[in-house]
Symmetry: C2
Amino acid sequence: MSEATATKGYRIALDCMGGDLGPSEAVAAAALAFKEGVIGPADTLILVGHEDNLRLLAREHRILNKPERVFYRHAPTAVAMDDAAMAVLKSKRDSSMVKALEMLKAGEADVVVSTGNTKALVAAGTIKVRPMEGAERPALAAIMPRREGHFIMLDVGANPEAKPEHLLHNAVLGSIYAQCSLGIANPRVGLLTVGTEEGKGGARINRTHQLLKAMGDRINYVGPVEGYDVFGDACDVVVTDGFTGNVLVKTIEGLVYMVRDLVGSKVKRNPVYIASGVAMFPLLRDLKGKLKPERYGGAPLLGLTGLVMKAHGSSNRQGICSAIRLGLEALGHDAGRRMQAALAEANQVVAATPEEA
Amino acid sequence: MSEATATKGYRIALDCMGGDLGPSEAVAAAALAFKEGVIGPADTLILVGHEDNLRLLAREHRILNKPERVFYRHAPTAVAMDDAAMAVLKSKRDSSMVKALEMLKAGEADVVVSTGNTKALVAAGTIKVRPMEGAERPALAAIMPRREGHFIMLDVGANPEAKPEHLLHNAVLGSIYAQCSLGIANPRVGLLTVGTEEGKGGARINRTHQLLKAMGDRINYVGPVEGYDVFGDACDVVVTDGFTGNVLVKTIEGLVYMVRDLVGSKVKRNPVYIASGVAMFPLLRDLKGKLKPERYGGAPLLGLTGLVMKAHGSSNRQGICSAIRLGLEALGHDAGRRMQAALAEANQVVAATPEEA
């Protein structure tokens, strides 16, 4: 972070209650973030959840010796993984997730980090924190591994019925997020579809392609990309709707687990493999690390007036700490203001670009 | 195949010109299919392509000693992988692909097997062979590996803008195809979406879910499934639109190649891995076999009045032979007549099921 940022400092509201590993892991993540300097000297942390419990955990993890940097916001309930998304704002108004979002809305926090129920976070985040001017729905942006380095895919589940304008918004938001999180100066943006000829993929893709071309040099659009290209080096930002993106990341996760299990069971069943398998273990561990979805920490809900970071429900302390880091990086790059400006530009292009017959 | 089938025999039109490995591999596949008894004693084969060339290749591969079982249909041109789909019926009327489809339409062949350009095959197949009564568009059905055995996914690219009725058609067609190709008596059908609660995934998914439930015991519908479930044991037939399905299978293929390259490069770079890597080689080969998309041979274009099998463009002789086998199995199970009856039933259900408000 720059000096200016460090002087100002950011306030991180950490929803400690919704993850699979519970508040203990969230507090451990906070301790790790302090220890590794992810949370800078001027930043402050608000632990949101059952306060007595959190104070005990903070003592265990030795972050009580930072009274001027760690605060608490009591929330007696938690959103469960199977709570219906739309019901959360009514039935779980005093949950840690909703309390954290309210702090963001009220300007008492600069970023919310939550491991909770994705659909509830999208719904409650959209209603509480509100979309940026000119945006209708947020997009969930995942960082994914590829042969060399990483790429951004969005939307991976916030807006399953995205219209061409929404896909254009995803492109500009994802482009800025790739600058902040991957450090790519001029990210290449690809539109995911079923064929790279123009006219393939239906009316929605055609209109989006037209809009992206009309953006000119305001975005580094490299054209339509296919599934084959995703793990290659065709582009740095893969733009898709929340239906396709969600199915895709979950299927990839399912496949990765299957490959690991296949390798694991074969190694176990065959004595020759056991001997060589021991030597191969670091390789398998590397592969697992490379492909482990949790490793890429947080996925921001882009396009809201405040920054909400979703960490995988099964995140361990490293995963949650990584979500905190990604959130602070986005804040440090002034991502919110830049995204707001880019959305306004994109909407001007939409208005100025008549649909082709 | 049953005795009755063997007595009658089927006529296979093999488009020999469109694959990446050329006509030589197609003729080698034909020889393999005869040798392994895939093509039964009463079946006949028509090699479609440049006749002189094919006769030479047939001599090389020693299938000229079957004059009463191997025939030729001359076609002077071939559809290229980058030919625009819709132009093929005009500019490539004398191509092996179009000639083979014309034989199917004219009742001179019972099945077409082609390694050619998928989009051209879908477009030309739909126009030449025509959809079954009550269907509007065909669906491409892929056989995919999972932890144990295989499952069917459709549509993987024929109809990117599928409506709820089309998705219902995919469900009934895929269910019958799973019986024929996987030998599952009562295949479990899942609808791919972004969440398993009712009401998730948008209006199109909701209406499809409603129609599938209204089918009652005419189909073994197990409900919505997510990406996580695809490689598990939740269902045998994964129903989706041609956009999502196409992106999904291509992304999976890209990921599988990435994993293999990662494993390969790690093994090569580290001397410890080289020693153990040699012992691990059979494991990697098994894994490669398990995940190799070409292995699952053909994907039929379901819902046309004749049977068109698409084999992967890069198919080797085993892949093409497998496509021939899958085609003959479908014919042997009287799939066409049963699919036509199932579509009529499905359309009755659509008409009798008013949309929910």
